[in-house]
Amino acid sequence: MGVSQEVHLGEKSMSEAAQLDVERDLDLGWMDRRGEWEIQARPSKNGLTLADIQIGDYGDPPVVSENQTGVPRGAAKRDGSYRIGAYGVRTKSEIWLDNASFLYEEALQRQWSSATDIPWHTIEPLPDDIEQAQCAMDTFLTEVEFVAGDVPARWVARTTPDFFEARNVLLCQVMDESRHMDVFRKRALANGGGLMCATGGTAGVVGSIDHSRDFTEMSSRLHISGEGAVLTIFRLGELMAYNDAEKAIYRLCAQDEARHVAFGVMHMRYMAETAPERHEEIHCYLDEAERGILSGSQNPAGQFTQTSESMAILLGGGKANFDEGRNRLIAIRKRQLQEYIKRVKSAGFGDRFENGRSQVPELLAEIAA
């Protein structure tokens, strides 16, 4: 089959089509180079989800990926293509979780807008100490959410496209954290206050998340210990809220955060089941994370002065009720630790609480006493 194409374009055209001004034969060889064919995915009750297209080769991620060229999973490989990504995460157990497709669809469908889904009109002037305490928390959470968005973004780029389900969940997390950053910034600027002094909350334990050498190391620090603690704070935010806008902010952020924690728990569960040789290594990551939990120095509900004081003021209803607020804060700390222990158990590493390796149960008993 032949075709004559005469293209008359101006000299300044940037289109490649402008170069096709010679008589030539069509090259339809690409039509024979394809992945598995005659695939007919069918929508399920929730639409055409990622789970619905896990068909044949397309639904079969490799145990170890040799893909360094960005070829989509299941597509035909292109001869002679060069590397486009320095994908360090190429072993399935390093990043996989069984419900990544599910979490991704859920993340897509449960998005919200900080501009229009928060009843900003319900915010009214607050006493100075309450407003300052709220703005201190807003400043801290903006800092922390920056890390929570930044870190997974780095790991997305390091992960082979063959594990795109897990990558997609992380990309949604980056979007979620962006929204968290902006919603706390908006709150700080919405009621006559503003941002306070940076807390430094991203130094030390929180900042060290970004030094992780391994995805599971990062996930155990970020998703299990870090976001687990922040999830408790978001949930408890309703107790610190003084209007429906703040309640909605905390409630909606908590939903997103629970999804991120779910990623971490399910990834560690997969790791526990498929990579027993890495159990001790993962316990070491948890040891490190727990040192931060035990010191409480970077935990807004722990001994981190700027945030623990501001939370106590918000919980108590002002500086004058600081002690009452502090007692409620201690109850929050107790819940943080209880939930942490149960999440680690759910992830398959609960033996550390039975064999004396973890000191979190002792701290919990101390707080309860």
Partner: protein, 150 residues
Amino acid sequence: MPRFPSEQWFGAVAAVFNGDESYQGAGGGQCNCRAGVVVEAPNDAPADVFVLTFEGAECLGGQPADAAALADVDFYMQMPLADWQEMLGDIQAHGHATADHTLNSLDLNREEGLATSVHGDQYREDLFFRYNQTLQFFFDASARVKTARA
């Protein structure tokens, strides 16, 4: 007029919830869980137990069950009848839960929490937080259901 708690009441609320697309946005959306509702009766009478099922964008209603069924749900929410009625009264009065009557606030303000589980698996208990806005929308939908007092 359905009485709370009853299968008819949960069915009527589910019909309102399923018919209002606004509940699928603003932090609502796909929700997949089985949640128990335990209504403690006064005078040490046996509690009423219902199992609420959410699949995708729909609530399939609340089925009466016995206490043993709580072992199978992801989490369950337990309060005395009077507290459930106070929460529903607030929702009726304002069109949605306010102040300390949201599910999350009720959970936080109670010594043992509102939501818990038999299995103790925090991953499944976390579904109460992960789908909290949907659960709240569901009970908020009861503002449009005339309810008989038990």
